[in-house]
């Protein structure tokens, strides 16, 4: 790796639809995030936060602009290479959880490890400990349909963390949790960020949760409106 920033967005635009119904979800966004940062993204609904996260997570491709990850131009990578990048570097927490139906919490969390080629016993061990981190070890055998929204959200978080990624991209990870749970989760994330240098980009609506981050990005209408260091971090 060079000393290039971990995430480097330049003039990123993402347009949905065309003509009269055209929506600029991202409009010329410039943004760099360094290795080890804990970034919170806030902004009104529809301001492009999720879209930004999807682009950063290589789940969606921008309409125009340049995105470098560790100095590598993402547009130059094949679909399979992008899959490898997601597999080894990225963990995603979706706004709508996106868990596999009729699949236990444990097996949902195990999923990324299958593609990392870990043995079954290694996978289950790691999945159990990830579930423990989010306080769900006692629900390991339950299917998503048997879990509350908050519990499903925590399964999704465990799945994002289980593969020890470089970056976790979390889209409103505490949106369905009560304050006590939210703080617990934030402490887990903050701990990982401090101890292992995990880079975190988190979309949130709650100032209290954003306060756990070191940097706050405020988005409006697909643009970065404000970008500031917060808290005690450098």
């Amino acid at each position: 790796m060079s000393d290039a920033p971990l995430i480097d967005l330049r003039k990123i635009t993402r347009v949905y639809g065309s003509g009269a119904s055209e929506v600029r979800a991202l409009d010329n966004v410039d943004l760099t995030i360094d290795d080890g940062e804990f970034v919170a993204i806030m902004g009104p609904s529809g301001s492009g936060k999720s879209t930004a996260l999807n682009v950063i997570g290589c789940l969606d491709s921008p309409t125009s602009g340049e995105y470098r990850f560790c100095g590598t131009e993402i547009a130059s990578l094949t679909r399979d290479q992008l899959a490898l990048l997601r597999r080894h570097y990225l963990g995603f927490v979706f706004q709508g959880y996106n868990l596999l139906a009729r699949t236990s919490a444990l097996h949902n969390v195990e999923l990324p490890l299958i593609y990392k080629g870990l043995s079954r016993s290694e996978r289950l061990k790691a999945a159990h400990s990830a579930l423990a981190k989010v306080g769900l070890e006692h629900r390991a055998r339950h299917d998503p349909s048997e879990l509350s929204g908050g519990q499903q959200q925590r399964v999704a978080i465990a799945r994002a963390l289980v593969g020890s990624p470089r970056v976790v991209l979390a889209d409103e990870p505490t949106g369905n949790l009560d304050t006590k749970r939210s703080i617990e989760i934030m402490e887990v994330l903050q701990g990982l960020n401090r101890e292992t240098g995990l880079t975190i980009v988190m979309v949130t609506h709650e100032r209290d949760m954003a306060a756990f981050a070191d940097r706050l990005i405020w988005m409006v209408d697909g643009r970065v409106e404000r970008d500031e260091q917060i808290g005690k971090a450098a």
Binding site: L59, R79, D80, R87, F94, G163
Partner: protein, 403 residues
């Protein structure tokens, strides 16, 4: 990795138990129905062939007239044969083992209060030998009876049963038209032919008796020829035709006024009918196959949304498109194989039962089994795999948002 993929597929199968079950069911119905029906149809065809072979593959029949189907007794205006024609055929042709003269008509046989309309056949012992009739009781004709045209007769099993029931017919007298005829023997039953025509429904009497007292002429309406072993029926037909043209003085360029037919032709005629039957069954079976196929298709299509989202999730956590596709392909193949195997087993079971019920041989056809299996597997794979392929080509986020 392949092992891993198979495990993933098995997990998916168990996870989606209902979908898997319905898919398997579709394959089972398709494969099972085709195999059961075609097996029964083939069994009937085999039965016909076997029946014909029982009649003798070395048998050739010579009939007056050109059209075999119309050439029955008195059927056409062509000149009938005579006993002399028959004997010349037997004596002068090296390839002929036995030639039996036959003259026949339909008439009522009466005994006491019982009567039955049946085939009255004038012939001699040569026919019994050529056609392999075994005597069950009593005896066959004596030379003196044949020469003098005595009123004696030998009964087929059906006629015996109808007229005599449990009592012993040998020595009794039956009446046929104006003739009182002493029963001297009974023949062993050959049973029904495949199409239910009763082979035991006739009364035999000496040809001379038939000529004088039943027919009132001396026509021979058919010659039943058994060819020497080792002589092909094609060659026999050829030579008999030449010989017959000669004795019937048919000039060069003139048409035959008789027909030489071998059992193979009879078999072809009959199995033509079973072919139609098999075809019909196969058509019904194809419909079942289609129904099964549409069932599979529906289930697969209904689950496309869910599958698409699943693929999105897998791509998002780092699966490559090929890995996901492999998983779906293996899943489809495993389901099709399970369904196919159950279908084959059920199809053969029902085919066997059907064959038993219809009393035809159990004749499973490997080709049909393969076709049925292949078709259902193809449907399963195509409709399991192609939606997956489409999904795997999407952006992960598109796949996740699929509705």
């Amino acid at each position: 990795m392949l092992w891993e993929t198979i495990m993933l597929a098995l997990q998916a199968i168990l996870r989606n138990a209902l979908r898997s079950f319905l898919t398997v069911l579709g394959v089972v119905i398709g494969v099972g129905a085709v195999i059961a029906m075609v097996t029964v149809g083939q069994g009937s065809a085999v039965q016909v062939t076997a029946d014909v072979e029982k009649l003798g593959t070395n048998i050739v029949m010579v009939m007056p007239g050109q059209d075999a189907m119309e050439g029955g007794p008195g059927g056409t205006a062509s000149a009938q044969f005579t006993l002399r024609d028959n004997d010349r055929l037997e004596e002068q042709m090296g390839i002929v083992d036995i030639a039996a003269p036959i003259a026949a008509t339909r008439a009522r046989a009466v005994f006491g209060n019982e009567n039955r309309r049946t085939d009255i056949v004038g012939t001699d012992n040569r026919y019994l030998e050529a056609a392999n009739w075994e005597v069950a009781r009593g005896r066959i004709f004596e030379l003196a009876e044949l020469q003098s045209g005595r009123a004696v007769c030998v009964l087929g099993e059906t006629v015996r049963k109808e007229l005599f029931g449990a009592s012993d017919p040998v020595g009794q007298t039956i009446r046929i038209k104006a003739v009182s005829c002493e029963v001297i023997g009974l023949l062993q039953s050959k049973g029904a032919s495949t199409f239910g025509s009763d082979q035991d429904d006739f009364v035999l009497m000496p040809l001379r008796t038939f000529h004088r007292r039943v027919a009132g002429n001396s026509d021979v309406t058919m010659m039943y020829v058994s060819v020497r072993e080792g002589v092909s029926t094609d060659r026999a037909k050829q030579e008999i035709e030449t010989f017959m043209r000669d004795i019937r003085r048919i000039g060069q360029g003139e048409e035959d006024d008789f027909t030489v037919m071998d059992m193979k032709q009879v078999a072809t005629m009959l199995s033509g009918i079973t072919d139609i039957l098999t075809g019909l069954l196969a058509a019904v079976a194809m419909v079942s196959l289609l129904v099964g196929g549409i069932g599979i298709m529906n289930i697969m299509l209904v689950s496309v949304t869910e599958r698409t989202r699943e693929i999105g999730i897998r791509l998002a956590v780092g699966a490559q498109a090929n890995q996901v596709l492999m998983q779906f392909l293996v899943e489809a193949v495993v389901l099709s194989l399970i369904g196919g195997l159950i279908g084959v087993i059920l199809g053969l079971t029902f085919g066997y039962i059907g064959a038993q019920v219809l009393a035809v041989p159990f004749a499973p056809d490997p080709v049909i089994i393969l076709i049925a299996f292949g078709f259902s597997a193809a449907v399963g794979v195509v409709f399991g795999y192609f939606p997956a392929r489409r999904a795997a080509r999407m952006n992960p986020i598109e796949a996740l948002r699929h509705e």
